[in-house]
Symmetry: none
DNA sequence: CATGAATGAGGTTTCATTCAT
DNA sequence: TATGAATGAAACCTCATTCAT
């Protein structure tokens, strides 16, 4: 995809009617299914439409182009994860560091594994620049919320909150991606939560200054 | 995913003449350049050949198909990183944990940032199964070497070396990927080394049992 | 020979709309025209599509590949000839040998010369195995019908009906092919019917045992 | 058809040296082998050269293009068959009809089955016009010899020798081709000679006028 | 609004042929 | 002369997108 600045990536219309919403959902589901069963290179608009039980024409009523479709699907996924993590972070305002890490990591892992297929399917969609910005935006936002949380820790202070937050998030995201992409050895998957907690907490405690 | 097992991914001929070797190198370099400047979706065999200053036909004398070309480029990159890290790990046999982490992380970061363009360009090439296997194989091998190193630590023992190694590697690879893919804010990049060391060491010390 | 069993030779969709049927017919006709005017080696999908007044894409909506297109055209031709000959053979059940030969040969020659262009165009399409099987199947079926006819002759019996039938059919098909392929001297063409009759009858009478 | 008048179909040089002759023979053999094992569509100049144990460049020293190579191979095959049949025909000058047929048919069948692989491989090479002319020329020449023979029959006269000869030849060639192309049921193959004799003799006796 | 037939640019790949070594 | 690397025109085929019905 060239990703020209001209073509819009936003959905064409906000579906207000019930039937429309059902169609959009069907297309959404179909996209993920095709992604999972056939892979990104084999994801064609016709195939998605067929799996959704509609015609290509209909698909193009809701998305101006294929990019927009993928963008939209990725967006929804990232927002869901982001919201979950942000909610967890906000709920731990003022708590001790260990509790923060425990709760946030748990929320992240739960969100990712609950929608594991979605997550797997979407990892390789980052192909384009528009998408890179999207990811950046979501991380940015979640980053702010988490930074606020860290700054409010009852038992720790941080010298460079921005940097520390970045690493904290990366420490959650990175290994999770490795596991999901790498066809998860399964016995490792169940260990992901505690391990991630240990990883993040170990790091944060090293970086923490006494309050 | 598709990925037919039939289509070979191995290069077509070992170039014997001097001219051939130059051609192969040019194609190799061109692939990375195109990947960097145009991205994977815009990487076409014609474009690569043009950038290399040869014709498509020539490209196909050395690689049976586009996949094989990408596979080959990725393979070389992964091997280089893998070798570097493994060498570092072997050199620290019997050392204390902190020294191990410091050395291995430094080696990894150095290798990745030295070939930063290559690394960036190749992250999104994992499109298909053949590639997934390759990554797995390299990780497998490096994992064994690192596990051996960890088991030899003079000041620590680990309950589940396999799992710990996996997380250790993921903790290095994941955040690095995030940074390189995310267009690196640069001031963060210089912090990567120490941060990664802190992340890994914090984790490993939590997991370590007294010896 | 190559001929992978995987690639389907069957048309892609049964056209339901009126427009579609017209398109399919146009492609069909175009194939024969191109075959006639340019020959098999110059028959490209683009050329066929252009002659049919459609785009390549359209052609590929109905045929999964070039082979399938040729297969389809050949199939229709063979079926037509086959049906004609079989009908003639069945109508002569129980008749005397000379009448049988006269009728069947006449039917065959009529069918071939009526669609002479098609016949000429298609002789050299037997390039691959899928096609060979098709030809075999048609010959097989027609052979059975003809064998039945011969066995019912009122004035003759045959020792080895299978062999005799084979030769009978080959005696019709072979010289006809020679003539059509050889750019027919025209004055010979009009003689084909009687000559073929003489050839076949001469043979069958020699092979016949008294009843 | 393609066959541009400009490109010569004649071999480039008459090889006079022994080594050259060996090379030409090797290329010749290789062409037939490739034709048999891979089929015409997969016959490439490189493959032929490789099978012959030489380089493409060498192949092009002896044949100006691929057409010329195929032409040459077909030519040699046809000449061999032609010579055999003509010799047989000439040897039967003045003999009775039955003896003529018996001898000529036997010679033809022997020649074809002795070089059966060659024959099979070459049937589908008639693709081009230049080739059609070649076939015509050979048939023409053999036809004259056979016509002369028929006219000299001690026990028969023919009203239209030209036509009769044409049918006689076609009656030999056609069924033989059918058998060889059709993957020969083998038990039929051994019957080919007598059957062909019966076919031709039956025809010729019907066409013969008393002398 | 929905459909799906049609489009055609563009991608991958092959292979006859040339020519510097 | 022999070699085989290089060429590039041209083939096959796909698929995002449009638009008449």
């Amino acid at each position: 995809m060239s990703s020209p600045a001209s073509t819009t990536l936003k959905p064409r219309k906000k579906p207000t009617q019930a039937r429309s919403q059902a169609t959009v959902d069907a297309i959404f589901e179909a996209t993920i299914q095709v992604l999972l069963s056939d892979g990104l290179p084999s994801l064609t608009t016709i195939r998605v439409a067929a799996r959704a039980g509609v015609s290509v024409g209909t698909l193009y009523q809701y998305y101006p182009n294929k990019q927009a479709l993928l963008y939209s699907v990725l967006e929804r996924h990232l927002y869901r994860i982001g919201e979950t993590v942000e909610a967890a972070a906000q709920s731990m305002h003022g708590a001790p560091l260990a509790a923060m890490v425990s709760t946030v990591v748990a929320a992240f892992v739960k969100a990712k594994t609950e929608r594991m297929d979605e997550a797997c399917a979407l990892y390789n969609v980052s192909t384009d620049l528009g998408t890179a910005q999207l990811i950046h935006a979501v991380e940015q936002h979640a980053g702010e919320v988490i930074a606020n949380m860290l700054m409010s820790a009852s038992d720790a202070r941080f010298g460079n909150v921005e940097l520390t937050t970045y690493m904290f998030v990366a420490a959650m995201v990175g290994p999770t991606r490795s596991m999901l992409e790498g066809g998860v050895p399964h016995k490792l998957l169940s260990a992901l939560g505690p391990q991630l907690e240990s990883l993040c907490l170990g790091y944060l405690m090293r970086e923490a200054l006494p309050r």
